[in-house]
Symmetry: C2
Subunit: 590 residues, 2 copies
């Protein structure tokens, strides 16, 4: 109710939107950063004629499109909100798309709560919007003074919000959020671009219009005790229809040139880092497809997104060291059909986990690249080593998790990512690794490659990334000892190639070794165990992973110290070979 | 080199520190928020006489204490840094400890990089330090203009940093970072408290003093090409000894009263939410132990940390909606021996994952509570449902992960957490659940409880939290059908009670069902599979977990829709009972 007047004036006089063509490029965009104001959003949909009373009354019921917080299963909702502090950074992404990609003057309206201004991600958004001069972005801050548990840090001190926004380069307008004429004037001013984003700081009253709750604590997220009385106070039951203004046709969105995909080719036997291949392939993909966009967290010379930046500077966005804003911008950019790839050190993607989680709820298609995986980075030490990223990314609904071991494979996987839906993640390695696949080898999401195999394998090593090369060394050593081990490059960690794993289990007498430059929890080993959990044939699985806190050292030393190098793999294989088949007669029978 | 003059003046004239008693309450604190400046930090340790040349030359070698980024295996380092944007928020925690807990006038000096000011977490720190009036906190911002890949957003625009700090209520001093007298004056001014935190904004030159690299791009993190020449330029090899100033004895740290622990007691057969028990127990713990402190992300009436706040307002810190700052403050507070518990919705702890990861590298002892786990929260929808928190927290080095199913158990576990080292996490449930344990029942980290068992169990259900009650219902239903299932309450998800699981596998013919209100990846099911991976006896494990994106609905409806309610558990048990024993003769023999 605090923001009802703000939104009523917006839809009556400023919001330009064609509900019959919700993806039309001429539409304005509206994000409820304060997603818990969903009753207001749905009331707007009702007022604009998008939903009827019957559907409105399904609010928060099982199967309803009207969930507790907005999600894009509704055609008029573009991103999920409900984790506070995300709508404005996502709006920054939409505004980037408008100004720099589509190059159309649609506006991005974001309704923000005052409580959520405490999130650092909101400051990242303020900083980036100011820096980029996003004059098409309008934040409406509903300063109703009351958070969930009590008064916010700044209460009704509107100047606190105004001063913070201005220092980041925003134009600001303070307004009484219950004065329709004042709101109308503010919107008109905001919509007249002056090259700066605009923040409308509105003084409002929580529960406005209903005496029982107005400006009172203890009512956050609660139903009214006396709804009939409230309806009467608000003027009785009404059925206003306020269709949004039809947008003027703004013209066709800008399109960047496209061509034939010519992925980089690395000669077998040479050495190249998969992170280098990420950058090379992304640049090639950018040349082939004009809709591909790159973002980076100020480490483009480490992730090699700099190759894309140099090739396609107009489609590269420097997000500085602000990983939350980076992922949020990717979400905002993909709303308009662009294909964003965002990169930083894999370890620092942990900074944006809430944004990745929410991106999945947004049904967003975004691609993330995390470089410098695992202890193999060497001297920089554990703060820079991603050792939880596979667990983190696997536990995202509908995600794809890829982990290449060589440059040609990495390049092919990057190309595949462009067409994936949902959250896709590629994990790259700092060190140069041997190129073992020819440039014409093909890979698939859900695939794997068997790199060593004989008719009589006594174990199978399942691994991905840098430890593939350790497994190959181990296999060569073991072969000299008369022990044959299969080596499986499980580059698609999620979905994993269950069929190949099943065959390996059956053909090795149920003797598997998983190897990963990652903590033991939630990574490749867990993915392999999951395949067999509820099957008749359940192999023994030795999981080699990083179990002690690493320090600095040379990559080889750290792989050895973690027990995931060739020597440890060979030891595990010898033990399994000695132990004999691990599948009992019961399983063999089934 | 950009910050060398800043730090030289600090240790020569202002930093008060007794290296022989690094945990002494009278010491100042120093945090290198720009952890990549570790060579400078170690050079300071050399200059102050803490390390010798021989050790200095072990920098970044395997086994050295001098890692690529500082970690607290060095006695003079209190927290790990290297993920940018964390040192200042942690410094806020230390300053909170000084002002509000220890109540001693030690100072907290934080060296910040200019690049990292782009992290939203730095703004959270600025906001909180200003709000709390942390006059004991001094941030020194090394504005050397150059980030890793090029110029920062603000270059040498010192005013940009000054204005941002001032708007958050900081005192600021701009200074030439290579003018020792000016630096000295700035520190003297900063150390004279005026109730505001102080930011010293220093204009510096990256690579100062060495022509080859000074103010040049492309040298971030790289060794000099001509070190001999650089040493000559810097005045030749020198061996200055600059011991820090001995701190004046500031007096004894404040202590809060302590008493006997009287945990809340809930009658068996009643209903209570585990989140309520968290708050009740935390308040009781606070009465028993004066060192217990609580923080919350502005949802204390949901997490029930409000019970602590009301009982011990002096030891409760409202972190508003700033989860990164909340976890960082906990890390800073525990440096001084306090025992912090930080709570928010479990879903929103994803916001702080990088801080949790780094806290483990800091060897910090912090306790986290995540409420509103899983689909069982009901109508609020997926943005508020933690479905990845078990995976996230299990993949933290040395972590403890607890998930109680009833209020007495939750209370006991909260009490245990106070004495745990490392990162410990308790997952609580929104709904009221039946109290099934008596208030005198005891629980242990690494323990479990067998709630139903007969001599002839045909399957075992392993679960925790809200689904324990579903499992009990299923067991009761199945008993009427003549199917006996064991029910194991695996409240300690990490470490898990392997012995009890092994016994269950052996005694049920290898028929296990895991049930969790969580995505299938990385949670309880994965923990159970991990126990058996490399063992002779490997049971079949049916993993019931949330596999589709949930929406809104009633808790019971959502548990059913996710396939983790009593009916689905019973179905899985019937299937296993029909299937017969799952352990082959080979395993039975071993």
């Amino acid at each position: 109710m605090s923001a009802a007047d703000l939104m009523a004036v917006l839809i009556a006089r400023h919001f330009r939107y064609d509900p019959d063509a919700p993806r039309d490029a001429s539409n304005d965009h509206l994000v409820f950063s304060k997603g818990h104001a969903s009753p207001l959003l749905y009331a707007m949909f009702k007022a604009m004629g998008f939903i009827d009373d019957e559907e409105f009354l399904t609010y928060r019921r099982l199967g309803s499109r009207l969930e507790g917080h907005p999600v894009p299963i509704l055609p008029w909702v573009e991103v999920a909100t409900g984790s506070l502090g995300q709508g404005l950074p996502i709006g920054v992404g939409m505004a980037i798309a408008g100004k720099h990609l589509d190059r159309l003057p649609y506006r991005v309206w974001v309704l923000c709560g005052d409580s959520e201004m405490a999130e650092g991600s909101m400051n990242e958004a303020l900083e980036h919007a100011g820096h980029l001069g996003l004059g098409n972005l309008i934040a409406i801050v509903d300063v109703n003074r009351l958070g969930q548990t009590g008064e916010t840090m700044h209460g009704w001190d509107l100047d606190a919000y105004r001063d913070r926004a201005e220092v980041f380069g925003w134009r600001t307008i303070e307004v009484d959020g219950h004065d329709p004429a004042a709101i109308d004037g503010a919107y008109a001013q905001a919509a007249a671009p002056d090259g700066r984003p605009t923040m409308i700081v509105a003084r409002t009253i929580k529960g406005y219009g209903v005496g029982e709750v107005a400006n009172k604590e203890g009512w956050h997220g609660k139903a009214l005790a006396h709804p009939e009385q409230a309806i009467a106070e608000l003027g009785g039951e009404r059925h206003l229809l306020v269709p949004p203004l039809k947008p003027a046709r703004l013209g066709d969105p800008h399109r960047f040139p496209a061509g034939r995909l010519e992925l980089p080719r690395y000669p077998v036997g040479s050495e190249a880092a998969t992170r280098q291949a990420y950058g090379d392939a992304l640049a090639a993909l950018g040349s082939a497809r004009g809709e591909v966009v790159a973002l980076d967290g100020e480490v483009s010379n480490s992730t090699f997104s700099e190759v894309f930046r140099e090739a396609h500077p107009e489609r590269y966005f420097e997000m500085y060291i602000a990983e939350q804003q980076m992922v949020a911008a990717a979400v905002g950019i993909q709303v308009r059909g662009w294909v964003p790839f965002a990169s930083t050190f894999a370890a620092f993607l942990t900074r944006a986990y809430d944004f990745v989680r929410m991106a999945a709820i947004s049904r967003a298609d975004i691609r993330l690249s995390g470089s410098h995986a695992g202890v193999s980075i060497g001297e920089d030490g554990p703060s820079q080593m991603a050792l939880e990223d596979l667990a983190m990314m696997r536990a995202v609904h509908g995600s794809t998790v890829l982990y290449p071991c060589d440059a040609n494979q990495a390049a092919q996987l990057v190309a595949l990512m462009a067409d994936l839906t949902g959250i896709s993640y590629i994990r790259t390695t700092r060190a140069k690794t041997p190129v073992i696949y020819g440039p014409d080898e093909r890979f698939a999401v859900g695939g794997s490659k068997v790199l060593r195999s004989s008719g009589d394998d006594q174990a199978a090593v399942v691994t991905a990334g840098i430890t593939v090369h350790e497994a190959l060394k181990a296999a060569d050593t073991l072969a000299k000892e008369g022990i044959s081990v299969r080596v499986i490059d499980a580059y698609s960690v999620k979905p994993i190639d269950a069929a190949t794993l099943r065959r390996a289990a059956a053909e090795t007498g149920g003797r598997l070794i998983t190897v990963e430059d990652h903590w033991p929890e939630g990574g490749l080993g867990a993915a392999v165990l999951d395949v067999f959990a509820d099957e008749d044939l359940r192999p023994r699985v030795v999981n080699l992973a990083v179990r002690d806190m690493p320090g600095s050292g040379k990559p080889d030393e750290l792989l050895a110290a973690a027990g995931i190098d060739a020597a440890h793999i060979a030891d595990a294989a010898r033990r399994l070979a000695r132990a004999g088949p691990q599948i009992g007669s019961l399983e063999r029978r089934t």
